[in-house]
């Protein structure tokens, strides 16, 4: 799979890598059970530390998107169903919303209030 990073971006390198794997899972180009690139290869190709790539994979594991097993590398979770994919996409949009709220000075709590107001 294709991964690109921009060292000048305010986002961290690990977050950039994780975001692209997440996007590939959401748009279906990575399916359940697919193997992610070996961390060593990604790190060497992007000229970043291997721990940066492993941190990105760790973030994705904590989100329930990939599973890491010693000696077998990182795989997209094979039990990942369509609703999970939707939820991953939703979380990504929420994170973008939080960033936008922070830019205009809204705390997450204030954003939640706005959300409640909008749904009532």
């Amino acid at each position: 799979m294709l991964i690109r990073v921009d060292p000048a971006s305010p986002l961290g390198l690990a977050e950039q890598i994780a975001a692209q794997v997440r996007a590939a899972v959401i748009d279906g180009s990575l399916r359940g059970g697919d193997k992610l690139p070996p961390a060593r290869e990604l790190a060497a190709g992007l000229d970043v530390n291997m721990h940066t790539v492993l941190r990105a994979y760790g973030v994705l594991r904590d989100e329930g998107i990939v599973e890491l097993r010693r000696g077998r590398g990182a795989h997209v979770r094979s039990d990942l169903a369509e609703p999970d994919r939707e939820r991953i996409a939703l979380r990504r949009e929420l994170r973008a919303l939080l960033d936008r709220a922070a830019r205009i000075g809204l705390t997450p709590d204030q954003l939640a209030d706005e959300l409640r107001k909008a749904s009532s």
Binding site: I3, V5, D6, P7, P37, P38, L42, D47
Partner: protein
Amino acid sequence: MNLRLRQLLAAVAVLQAPLWAAGVALCLRGDVPDPVPTHWGIGGEVDGTLGLGAFTTAVLAVVVLASLVALGCIARAGRGTALAGLGAAGATWFAALPASLYVATLLAAEGAARADDVRLPVVSIVLATVLPFVAALVVHRLLPGTSGPGAPVPVPASSVALADGERVVWVGQASSRRLLVAGIVLGLGTLPLWFAVWPAALATALAAVAVAWVHVVTARVDDAGVAVSWGPAQWPRVRIDLADIAAAEAAEIEPLRWGGWGYRRATRGRAAVARRGPGLVLTLRDGQQFAATVDRPEAAAELVNALVGRLSRTAR
């Protein structure tokens, strides 16, 4: 090095075979038994002899003929003939093998009274096998490929847009369960051999491990070029420099057209083959090709073309 000098050095390498054979024949003809031993059994005992005159004539005939073919190929190299380099290397090996075996035999037989007393040392067997390969490799390395480097190559089109400082990588793999199974079956098949002939068992076991090992091919495309590696540990690794790549495409790879599975060298170029099916095919600037089987290679080909484009843009 210009072409003339390369051709001259290659010719010197080729001429080693007839010169050494003839020189050893002249120097040692009085010091070896006649008939000379020409074949040894597994235990090292002589089980075949030939008259010195007939042996020398046969060897020199083959060596001289193959050397002439090699020299002919060397003379044609660099004139757009793709096969001249490979032909010269092949003919060099064909000339050097009988020559080195002849030299090894006569050196071993020097001073012996009867053919049966002659023992062939392991060192000379190894040298006589390795030296022809070295000679062929030297000749092949000295001769240029199809088109000379530096020929203008159009920059390939790509759908991937790359900023100048952006870091990008593509990693893909192809694996073959069949090769893995074949390696395991071959490995299990050696088990009875361990009790009978262990050197054969060891050799077969190593081959089995190699077959199982190459069932995974990993390809990586980045701003240094393309790196292809084998096995779960991504070793060994072959690198193609980005500056040597003219263009890339995704294509169906038929193993038999590239010489088989594993790491192959065919007349059209080199290939890392794990299975039949989609792969990345690079066209190099010297006219040769390089293929690697990978799943979903389209993005890889686009990225290689974009990187080639960026390199020519920034080099300007």
